[in-house]
């Protein structure tokens, strides 16, 4: 398939308006931020009743990466893994989140179990999940500066940030 033909409209398969990609035998849906919650809801109704994992990726060091279907790559990506117990199937959702507006609606109302995952993703990447009931840090101390899993957060050269410690 040539690049010009690789668009959402020409995707071989779509599900709930999202193009479906095969990543090493695993089913991946690319959702836009606008579609995100409604697609997760639709998938939950379809039998994907459990959200096993939600995490982020910072693609800062891969600026020229390409995503299929002509999707505009952004700095952050949120990856949601859904599981259907009844049909024994998995599906993965990838959502692009721009650095300038690193927000995404929360999945808390659909899958309450994402509460900790979203807090962790916020803590590690600084992606804010709007509507989340408790958008605080979860692993780092509450007065910590920066988001450690971002690629521009360097390893090994961090001043001691703990309360009352001599830095």
């Amino acid at each position: 398939m040539s690049d010009s033909a690789d668009t959402v409209e020409n995707a071989v398969e779509t599900q709930h308006g999202c193009p479906v990609q095969d990543s090493l035998g695993q089913r991946v849906l690319h959702a836009s931020r606008e579609q995100y919650v409604s697609v997760i809801k639709a998938l939950a109704d379809e039998g994907y009743e459990m959200c096993v994992d939600l995490t982020g990726v910072d693609y800062l060091e891969m600026p020229h990466r390409t995503i299929r279907f002509g999707i505009q790559p952004e700095r952050f990506e949120v990856v949601v893994n859904l599981l259907s117990l009844s049909q024994r199937k998995r599906v993965r959702l990838r959502v692009q989140v721009p650095a300038a507006d690193a927000t995404l609606p929360t999945l808390f109302d659909v899958h309450p179990g994402t509460e900790a995952h979203e807090r962790e993703t916020f803590d590690m990447f600084g992606i804010v999940f709007t509507g989340h009931p408790d958008m605080t840090r979860i692993l780092m101390p509450e007065d910590w500066d920066g988001h450690p899993l971002r690629k521009d957060y360097s390893q090994g050269s961090i001043p001691v940030q703990f309360k009352g410690a001599n830095s």
């Binding site: 090493l24 959200c51 096993v52 995490t55 117990l85 900790a116 916020f122 979860i138 500066d145």
Partner: protein, 442 residues
């Protein structure tokens, strides 16, 4: 409560006092969002708000509390002896292992992931190795012996982890002799691991492409010795605990969770199975050769601490069944893939061949390159679904390495299990969730 803010404005992580509590916050904490109707949720909230603030007290349980299995801190709101609200506060053991994972090559990654769930290190290595193998496209070419060895080690590890659960569960509930017995049985398994891998824990033995070494001479007798010694002792523990009225009184009906709640919260493993959902990745989404083996998935009915105890107890027996079958069918052959890209040359070749020496040097200093891609692989660890999500940019380090830790998710069920219970039962609940804080905080 003072909220510390130094440059950041996220606010504190602590449980808010009742006067600062908003309705939404309360709704979240009582778990009424678990697909209850608005009226049901409102009823719950009403019961809660009846407690006047001067009659309730927020206390910290942990992070330094012997029954919190490490450094888990629970903030409990108590009215007398009743737990009204609970919030687990974690992160005390956070060492940035996912960030470290990005700096280590795929060769070295095993040493990092094995330290997450330190009670089932071999399962961590297994899921990491399987994810890397899938990215490399060699997941179908792993030699048979390596696959069966992986299953042997994984099941023995499940046994050692559950034996430790029996020990800590006994200790937490006052059956101190069980603690000693559990540690003793676990040590037998760890001694076998030490013989095979060189280390009791944190083995880094299962590696991308296979395993680090073959099984040592006499391994079969060692495994048989473990398998033959255990049943009579398990029966003893059955008498000591399962059938004992005090033990039953202490656990039955404590920390109840429904199947609906468990699924909504993403709980897996014995917690999900205790609610009656027969979900075990070994049977339902088989990996390795679990589909060729015969074993039962142990399922509970009431979703209480007693069910979770019984499930783990009986899973030891199921794992023993699996190990017997693995012993029967263990094939001979290579213990790792003969693919020069990922496999270092054998030690003997290094002495006689310059190329082998260079190859050995290169593979251990630079590692091997993994094609671009992203993959999520999940297996059944003793605690539930452990998953590994790896993004590769084509270099020899993972671009992003995320581990979906079962304990991290399972800990979220605690507030729902504890709500309305007694503070003494909180210990039983923590123990029955069996979290490993190394993996919660990573």
């Amino acid at each position: 409560m003072t909220v510390v803010s130094a440059g950041t404005a996220e606010g504190g992580q602590e449980l808010l006092s009742r006067s600062e509590l908003t309705a939404k916050e309360l709704l979240r904490e009582v778990g009424s969002v678990l697909r209850m109707s608005e009226t049901e949720a409102a009823l719950l909230a009403e019961v809660e708000t009846e407690a006047p603030e001067d009659q309730t007290m927020i206390i910290n349980m942990g992070p330094q509390h012997p029954s919190t299995h490490g450094v888990l801190r629970l903030m409990l709101e108590l009215q007398g002896e009743t737990v009204l609200r609970c919030k687990p506060i974690i992160g005390y053991l956070h060492t940035g292992m996912e960030k470290t994972g990005e700096a280590l090559t795929y060769m070295q990654g095993g040493t990092n992931v094995t330290r997450m769930d330190y009670l089932s290190p071999l399962n961590n290595e297994l899921v990491f190795s399987m994810a890397v193998e899938k990215l490399l496209g060699i997941d179908g070419d792993i030699p048979e012996r390596a696959v069966w060895m992986r299953m042997l080690l994984s099941e023995l590890n499940r046994m050692s982890s559950h034996l430790l659960f029996l020990a800590t569960n006994g200790m937490d509930l006052g059956a101190v002799s069980m603690m000693l017995y559990g540690w003793r049985e676990r040590e037998d398994v760890l001694r076998f691991f030490q013989k095979v891998t060189g280390l009791r824990m944190n083995h880094n033995f299962i590696r991308p492409g296979g395993l680090a070494a073959d099984l040592p001479a006499g391994w079969r007798d060692d495994v048989l010795a473990i398998l033959e010694g255990l049943p009579s002792r398990l029966e003893e523990y059955d008498i000591l605990m399962t059938g004992q009225p005090i033990w039953r009184e202490r656990l039955q009906g404590v920390g109840v969770i429904t199947a609906q709640e468990a699924i909504a919260l993403g709980a897996t493993g014995p917690i999900l199975r205790s609610t009656g959902v027969a979900w075990d990745l070994r049977r339902d989404m088989p990996y390795l050769h679990y589909d060729e083996l015969e074993f039962d998935v142990i399922v509970g009915q009431y979703g209480d601490a007693y069910d979770r105890y019984s499930i783990r107890f009986n899973e030891i027996r199921e794992s023993m069944r699996i190990v017997y079958q693995v012993l029967e069918r263990m094939p001979s052959g290579d213990f790792r893939i003969q693919n020069k890209k990922v496999t270092p040359p054998p030690r003997a070749r290094i002495d006689e061949s310059m190329e082998a020496l260079i190859h050995h040097f290169k593979i251990f200093t630079e590692g091997f390159k993994v094609p671009e891609g992203e993959v999520y692989v999940a297996i059944e660890s003793p605690r539930g679904e452990i998953g590994c999500y790896i993004v590769s940019d084509g270099s020899s380090n993972p671009y992003r390495m995320h581990v979906r830790a079962p304990s991290f998710v399972n800990i979220q069920t605690m507030p729902h299990m504890m709500r309305g219970g007694l503070v003494a039962d909180a210990v039983a609940v923590i123990s029955s969730v069996d979290p490993v804080l190394g993996e919660v905080d990573r």
